[in-house]
């Protein structure tokens, strides 16, 4: 554990990527294999299931710290991280554990079926016998993911340095549904194993948002454009008469979308399609809200399947006839995809093609982009015709060119303390719009991003001085500040008090030039519903 805690401490103690990679590489060179597997699992968000619920953990921690529960809760709101709060309030210890990370995780897995009393004993013993940092890490292993600024990409880079295996190959090996308790380092990382590859998806290639004018991308004839659909980016795999559906979050979601079972037997074995899962109620592309009725469910009722079926809008083909064709040019891959589509398409098959468009000039492309909302897309994707399919977010060959967001001027009404990097700082905001009589502000959205650190600090100081009421971590504030809030989409909603749900709201600008009377009304917002 000491070694792993040291690693986390080092990663946590620097903002410099090179130092993080250095620390990880050193760890991968020295740690026991079992610990390495767990480290890879933890840093790629594959924790064992939580053995104790956090309500109990809070209760026990406050008991051991000899403070009332309310005081523990207040401290948690301010610290902004449960494991950190627990590690801080429990009486200090300077001991260090000789047990390995693997042993700890095995114990945590074994803890799950045990009685409450046994669980409490186990946590108490460890909390009291580990030093601050090990205690924090130990609690984190139980409660949640480590947010320490280590992306999967960064970890892969370090692992590549330690093993001399190509980064892309490692990224591929680490994808999918492997169990850190069962696999070994040799099997997961070092060995090549054909069978394991049956369900494995390829790492997704992700685009950056376009920075300048698209005309800076050069000759329009070198580019292919298509609409950017707003669903779940997915890979659909057909191999050995089996179907696997992977979401971009590397989650195996095959069971959630039984519609795609129809692909088996129609789409040839050894095919991997990159596409977007979209809701398709009443034979038309629906809204993201429609899709949300499907996302949360593991099993889908017949009724829902009928009401909100899904389709796959195909973008690309990554594997064809069992061969990895990612290195071939985009136009070649598209030719394969289009040929396949023409051969198999039918009204019964939930496979649609994301049509590509070729423009004569960039002005024409800009016009098409303006039509995005009409066709229910988020904007355009631009892909270089001769580009390979890369791994991860890379600049150069693929760009997303989204439509400008919808915006509205709203008043800050409530604020809540943030988490992680923003702990003890009021950074989570609720915004209101005026009702018909312009007398009351009706809450319509929450937003957490869009201000600079300096603006957050300034607003935080203001909130602390202008609090009206406190509700635990939430404060109502004097209506005073107007913000331009941007969002991607809007739809009616019965769940929201305002009657409207917005998609991905965030702060665009702090309108210090506007008084609250000049903020928009709820009616103004509703007028934006398509």
């Amino acid at each position: 554990m000491r070694q792993f805690a040291e690693l986390i401490k080092t990663l946590d103690s620097t903002n410099k990527t090179t130092l993080k990679v250095e620390a990880l590489t050193k760890y991968f060179n020295n740690a026991p294999d079992r610990d390495k597997v767990w480290t890879i699992a933890i840093l790629s968000h594959r924790r064992p299931p939580r053995p104790v619920n956090t309500t109990l953990m809070r209760l026990w921690a406050s008991e051991i710290a000899n403070i009332p529960l309310w005081l523990f809760e207040e401290s948690y709101h301010i610290v902004g991280d449960l494991a950190e709060t627990i590690a801080l309030v429990i009486p200090p210890s300077s001991a260090s554990s000789e047990k390995s990370l693997n042993q700890f995780l095995q114990e945590i897995i074994d803890l799950k079926p045990k009685s409450e009393e046994e669980k409490k004993e186990y946590l108490k013993d460890n909390w009291l016998s580990l030093n601050y940092y090990e205690r924090f890490v130990f609690t984190k292993l139980i409660t949640g993911s480590f947010r320490i600024g280590v992306s999967q990409k960064l970890m892969t880079r370090a692992l590549s340095k330690a093993t001399d295996i190509d980064e892309d190959i490692l990224a591929y090996k680490m994808m999918g549904d492997w169990n850190p308790a069962k696999t070994t380092y040799t099997k997961l990382i070092l060995e090549e194993n054909e069978e394991d590859f049956l369900s494995k998806p390829y790492p997704f290639y992700l685009a950056y948002a376009i920075e300048d004018e698209p005309k800076d991308l050069g000759d329009v004839s070198e580019w292919s454009a298509e609409h950017k659909w707003d669903g779940i980016r997915s890979q659909v795999i057909v191999r050995n008469d089996e179907l696997f559906v992977w979401s971009r979050g590397e989650e195996l979601v095959t069971d959630k979308y039984p519609e795609f079972e129809k692909f088996v037997g129609v789409i040839p074995n050894g095919t991997v399609i990159d596409g977007e899962i979209l809701p398709f109620p009443e034979g038309e592309i629906g809204t993201f809200k429609d899709l949300q009725t499907r996302i949360g469910r593991k099993t889908v009722s017949k009724n829902l399947l009928k009401k909100t079926p899904v389709i796959l809008k195909a973008y690309d083909v990554l594997e064809w006839e069992g061969e990895d064709i990612r290195q071939r040019a985009f136009k070649e891959r598209r030719a394969i995809l289009e040929k396949l589509y023409t051969e198999v398409k039918s009204d019964e098959l939930p496979l649609h093609l994301s049509h590509t468009i070729q423009f004569k000039n960039w002005e024409e492309a800009a016009e098409e982009r303006e039509r995005s909302r009409e066709v229910k897309s988020e904007g355009l994707m631009l892909k270089r015709l001769d580009s390979p399919y890369l791994v991860g977010r890379k600049k150069g060959d693929w760009w997303k060119w989204k439509v400008d967001p919808l915006t509205i001027d709203a008043v800050l009404t409530y604020a809540m303390r943030g988490h992680g990097r923003r702990s003890n700082l009021f950074t989570d905001y609720t915004f209101g719009l005026w009702d018909e009589k312009k007398e009351e502000l009706v809450t319509f959205a929450k937003a957490y991003s869009g201000l600079t650190d300096a603006e957050f600090r300034k607003l935080d100081a203001w909130i602390k001085k202008n609090t009206l009421e406190r509700f635990g971590p939430v404060r109502s504030v004097t209506p005073h500040h107007v913000f331009e809030v941007a969002f991607e989409g809007i739809a009616e909603s019965k769940r929201h008090k305002s009657g409207v749900a917005t998609r991905f709201p965030r702060i665009l600008r702090w309108r210090t030039d506007k008084k609250i009377e000049e903020a928009n009304t709820l009616e103004d917002l509703k007028a934006l519903i398509p």
């Binding site: 103690s13 903002n15 410099k16 403070i67 009332p68 401290s75 610290v79 309030v89 702990s423 003890n424």
Partner: protein, 339 residues
């Protein structure tokens, strides 16, 4: 008159009506009794200042020529039959608690204080009183300070390691108080100590009163190469300014109680946080309140609502009063350097 409290909180500061004086007022008044030299406690514009001797050079350095009289520790002076005296608060050099007594009733105002003897400020002494007006900047059970020997061992180790890796160490701390505490305990066998102008200016003012190692001010004439591997002490406001480019390649650290929170360090993009505070931690607050024997406690700045609620639960008559001392100042980088 009978119901008038000895000390009351109004829009200018903490007011003693019987003596017609203010303690650490935040607006200009005729007569001010000052606890210590930080800008939020000794403000500009009062006609007359009364403070401990040690604070006079600090306040004059910040505010220029002022009408000020100095007192000794425990020296009692009377104003209209109210007896006042200064008692060590241990926060920074010269920092005092202000004891106020009238007709046998005793109040103590802490200003800012800490219970650990840091070897720089005269150590905190508990003062018996009926009503204790306390800060509670770190009034949460999450705050627990390690002994400073351990923290300085970590700081010096960090410096040594950076030096071995060919990097310059830049450590941030307030120019009054934290900076001198750092200077005193940095291990000069490792290398040289360089200072930012704001730190050097304040340190110069304090040298007659404090024994401190040699420091070199970073001026235009100081060459980049000579700084390498050494340590630089700078105010928090210097972080992210062009000034710091001269230290490349460098590693940054901050020494503050707020470094308890991982988030506080990360959002400032500082590489390393050392938990080193000039305020009381949770236990320090509780034990010092107990030692005063006070029944009534008034919390002035920090996590006042939470802390006073807890005090009420454990049997004190505790409440919160609004002041303009830097409440919840985790996000502020200025105590004196922005002046």
């Amino acid at each position: 008159m009978k119901n008038t409290p000895l000390l009351a909180f109004n829009d200018k500061g903490i007011y003693c009506a019987q003596a017609d004086v203010y303690l650490d007022p935040w607006r200009p008044v005729d007569k001010a009794i000052i606890s210590h030299g930080h800008a939020d406690h000794s403000r500009w514009g009062h006609k007359k200042y009364i403070t401990h001797h040690s604070n006079i050079p600090i306040i004059k350095h910040r505010l220029g020529e002022i009408n000020v009289s100095g007192k000794d520790w425990n020296e009692t002076f009377s104003i209209n039959n109210v007896k006042f005296s200064f008692h060590p608060a241990g926060h920074i050099i010269g920092s005092a608690q202000i004891r106020v007594e009238y007709k046998g009733e005793v109040w103590v105002f802490t200003g800012d204080y800490k219970t650990e003897d840091d070897g720089v400020a005269k150590p905190y002494e508990p003062v018996k009183c009926h009503t204790f007006i306390t800060e509670c900047t770190f009034g949460l059970p999450a705050f627990k300070w390690q002994p400073q020997e351990e923290v300085f061992a970590e700081i010096n180790n960090w410096w040594l390691q950076n030096q071995a890796e060919g990097r310059t160490s830049v450590i941030f701390g307030y120019s009054l108080g934290k900076a001198q505490r750092l200077l005193k305990y940095l291990d000069t066998s490792i290398g040289k100590i360089y200072t930012h102008g704001a730190i050097e200016n304040m340190t110069e003012v304090l040298r007659p009163q404090l024994e401190m190692p040699e420091t070199t001010r970073i001026t235009r004439d100081v060459k980049k190469d000579e700084i390498k591997g050494n340590i630089v002490v700078a105010p928090p406001s210097a972080h992210g300014t062009p000034w710091i480019k001269k230290m490349v390649p460098y590693v940054t650290a901050s020494a503050s109680g707020w470094m308890t929170f991982r988030g506080a360090r990360r959002r400032r993009a500082i590489d390393r946080g050392f938990v080193l505070s000039d305020h009381c931690d949770w236990q320090g607050l509780l034990s010092s309140i107990k030692e005063t024997g006070a029944e009534k406690v008034i919390c002035t700045h920090g996590y006042t609502d939470i802390f006073s609620k807890y005090l009420r639960e454990i049997g004190y008559d505790a409440r919160t009063e609004q002041t303009q001392y830097e409440e919840e100042n985790a996000e502020q980088t200025s105590k004196t350097e922005d002046e």
